[in-house]
């Protein structure tokens, strides 16, 4: 999870930079609201 969360956020931002309107928001929402909290709980 500690690896997956930053990867998800990075891919989300990359998609936003290239002008994406679908994958980017989905990845960022999943990253910020699910994966990062899980990673923080894992410690």
């Amino acid at each position: 999870m500690r690896l997956l969360a930053p990867c998800c956020l990075a891919l989300g931002y990359l998609d936003l930079v290239r002008g994406g309107l679908t994958a980017g928001p989905l990845l960022l929402v999943a990253g910020y609201l699910v994966l990062v909290p899980l990673a923080l709980l894992e410690g």
Binding site: V17, T22, P25, L28, V29, V36, L40, E42
Partner: protein
């Protein structure tokens, strides 16, 4: 301090039952959900979500991401999907409050079903308090998302308080810090929960603040939480249709150097800090503090019986006193039976009530103390800023109610379950707001805002420029154009934003979209409409940026463009001198003669006269067209004092296709008085048409329009504005602009 019970003293949380409570609340919200967009900020936020754009400062990047994802759900219209986001967030919050109350009762109510009953009352009360309910059935603001963050942080803090030395305690605190930061990326109110967390930590385990590694980790997590703000400069550099504040230094396309530039930083920080609004310091009170508390109390009364017609003030006051007393009692029993969570929840209530009232520093409320004249007022009722306060207070009110239940149980001479059941009817008090608020909180069937947007856009000929003045004659149009694809050929220019530097750049970037005659009104199907080839303005970017905030001219000035010779009277302008928006409107008029017709929305009040354009004005439905030469009367163009001329055939043709009059009459109500200029535009237009037709001898048609006007006036409770139907239309109400956004650049000539 009395010893706190160990974690084992609390029964395992009923997550399944909480989920069921949340689902029931969601069902209620779905039944009363707005079927489309709404007035005020709803259209702006739906448009921002759909286009992944940037709404007004601070830009709410987390909301925009969430809204965009919601808009991708393949069910219902885009507006319904984003409205459902608000509903889901509030239902989730109700489920969390269920858990909090169940926990408070766990050491006090020995029987599980009684705890679940008490928790259900909390879920119901918190969901049906007027402002919570009304804001959960349309995505007018981002506050329901904030509420969900408040709730989840509350629950995590409660869990931490249970076992502050446990294996996961530190991780919980770091997660809480992260969620507070993330909540800030939704709205700055996200930080409001921070002080309560701090008090809870100090009360439960004060040594925690001396553990610098943990504090550092929490600070870093909070910093990670606010990183969604990085979305703003990235999206701004792609120049989406909605790009408020334009927080980027990139002019044409995104790039590394322009993104990591001083310009981007300056503009982003201006957005985050909401510089555009220029709010006074807290020391400079905009109304006496007691009046500001009075505003909170006024809206508190609404929570248990909205009574929008003002016909039940006595019942409303009684209910407010009852729920105030229940809340106080709830706070007391919370203190007695679950000290650990009280140290969080008590400070939270103080923060979102007294502290928030002081911090928001509002003027008098729009409907507060109407007998007071000469005081400055907020442009609309801002009960939504206290949504968190009323939601949290509902939790304490529910606790007070179950305490009453318990007191009755203890007095009954029955045994076992029977005594709990016998006293249970007292819990029905928790159903009161559900019954009393349904009519006013529900947005079901509210179609008028969407129809208004379509009607106003269709009042403008192909490729026209429409000048609007505020939120409610602008945001629904953005929604219609960007989300529903209605009349994207029309350029909407709102004067309140023309005073900023970024908006005109954004307008100048807008692509010219071909007019789709098949989707337009029948009135334009026979005409020849040439697509403009020239830009909206002849100015370069540098010239646009160089336009001054205002010009210190106080005497009438002659404006000439083609055959137009208008006398602009600064004394009739909003600021007493021509400001940037006035200069830009005149520039647009000059640059588009014979290219794009320029219109003013019927909601623009006396702006037309202030610019001296009345001799060139022709009213066509809900908008007024500025002709390129003085208008002369004819059989079709009837002169009307104060309005120029009325184009009778065009107006009648447009009226035949307008959707809002039917929607207004069918709904039988209007959302609030401050936005009354919208139905007023229809009613006054219908009355005008009626008068003109009567003067030409067509009394049957005149009677039809007058009937429609009266039906709308009755439905919107505005008959008082039209008490003498048949006489010239009264002065229109003020444009429905949110003053805090409408005056972004203060002018002090």
């Amino acid at each position: 301090m009395p010893p706190m019970p160990p974690a084992s003293a609390h029964a395992r949380p009923s997550y399944g039952a909480a989920a069921v409570a949340g689902a029931v609340v969601l069902l209620l919200y779905t039944l009363t959900l707005a079927p489309t967009t709404a007035l005020w900020d709803a259209s702006e936020y739906i448009t921002a979500a759909y286009t992944l754009g940037i709404p007004h400062p601070p830009g709410n990047p987390l909301f925009v991401l969430l809204g965009r994802v919601a808009s991708l759900v393949p069910a219902g219209s885009v507006a319904v999907r984003v409205n459902m986001l608000a509903a889901v967030c509030s239902a989730f919050s109700a489920a969390i409050w269920f858990l909090v109350v169940e926990r408070v009762l766990s050491s006090w109510f020995p029987i599980r079903w009684t705890r679940l009953a008490g928790a259900s009352v909390a879920a119901l009360l918190s969901a049906t308090a007027f402002t919570v309910w009304n804001q959960s059935v349309v995505n007018e603001k981002v506050y329901t998302v904030s509420l969900a963050f408040f709730a989840v942080v509350s629950w995590l803090t409660v869990l931490w308080c249970d076992d502050p030395d446990g294996r996961r305690a530190d991780r919980l605190l770091v997660l809480i810090a992260y969620l507070i930061g993330l909540g800030y990326a939704n709205h700055p109110a996200g930080f409001l929960v921070g002080p309560a967390v701090g008090v809870a930590v100090l009360a439960r385990r004060p040594r925690t603040v001396l553990r610098w590694r943990l504090i550092l980790a929490a600070v870093l997590a909070l910093g990670l939480g606010v990183t969604p703000f990085a979305v703003e400069p990235i999206r701004a550099a792609h120049h989406p249709a909605l790009n408020e504040g334009e927080p980027t230094g990139c002019v044409d396309r995104i790039g590394v150097r322009c993104t990591f530039s001083a310009t981007t930083y300056t503009r982003l920080m201006a957005n985050v800090n909401r510089d555009q609004y220029g709010k006074p310091s807290l020391a400079q009170r905009q109304a006496p503090f007691e009046a500001q508390l009075g505003m909170w109390w006024l809206y508190f009364k609404w929570q248990w019986l909205r009574d929008s017609t003002g016909t039940q003030p006595g019942t409303q006051a009684v209910l407010a006193m009852l729920f105030l007393a229940l809340g106080v009692a709830g706070g007391v029993v919370h203190w007695r039976h679950d000290r650990a969570s009280f140290w969080f929840f008590g400070p939270l209530i103080v923060t979102v009530t007294v502290v928030l009232v002081y911090y928001m520093n509002f003027k008098y409320g729009a409907s507060q103390s109407p007998e007071l004249t000469g005081v400055e007022r907020e442009v609309r009722d801002r009960d939504y800023f206290y949504l968190w306060s009323y939601s949290a207070w509902s939790v304490w009110s529910a606790l007070g109610l179950v305490a009453l239940w318990r007191a009755l149980v203890d007095r009954l001479r029955l045994t076992g379950t029977r005594r709990w059941v016998s006293a249970m009817p007292v819990l029905l008090l928790g159903v009161v707001p559900l019954a009393t608020n349904w009519r006013d909180a529900s947005r079901a069937g509210e179609m008028a805002p969407r129809e208004w947007a379509r009607d106003l856009l269709n009042s403008v000929e192909p490729y026209g420029i429409l000048i609007t003045l505020g939120d409610n004659d602008t945001f629904p149009l953005w929604y219609a154009q960007q989300v529903e694809g209605v009349r994207p050929d029309v350029t909407v220019a709102v004067t309140s934003l023309l005073n900023t530097d970024w908006y005109i750049r954004s307008l100048a970037r807008q692509p010219i979209v071909a007019y789709d005659a098949a989707r337009g009104p029948a009135a334009y199907r026979t005409g020849q409409w040439t697509m403009p080839r020239t830009p909206l303005l002849s100015l370069t970017r540098e010239q646009m940026d160089a336009i001054p905030e205002y010009v210190d001219l106080r005497t009438p000035q002659l404006f000439q463009a083609g055959q137009i010779r208008a006398v602009v009277d600064p004394r009739r302008l909003e600021y007493g001198v021509p400001v940037r928006s006035d200069l830009l409107v005149l520039q647009m008029l000059r640059d588009n003669i014979g290219v794009r017709p320029l219109y003013m929305a019927r909601t623009s009040g006396g702006y037309l006269q202030a610019l001296g354009l009345e001799p060139y004005a022709v009213s066509q439905g809900l908008a007024t067209k500025i002709m390129t030469a003085p208008v002369t009367a004819s059989a079709d163009l009837i002169p009307v004092r104060g309005l120029g001329h009325v184009d009778v055939p065009r107006t009648r043709a447009l009226w035949a296709e307008y959707g809002a009059p039917r929607a207004i009459i069918a709904r039988g109500d209007w959302v609030d008085r401050p936005s009354i200029s919208i139905p007023y535009a229809y009613i006054s237009s219908a009355l005008l048409l009626s008068d003109v037709l009567r003067s030409t001898g067509d009394s049957a048609a005149a009677a039809r329009y007058q009937g429609a006007a009266l039906d709308m006036a009755r439905a919107t409770r505005t008959l008082d504005l039209f008490s003498d139907v048949g006489s010239p239309a009264p002065a229109p109400p003020s444009p429905s602009a949110d003053a805090r956004r409408g005056t972004p650049i203060p002018v002090s000539p």
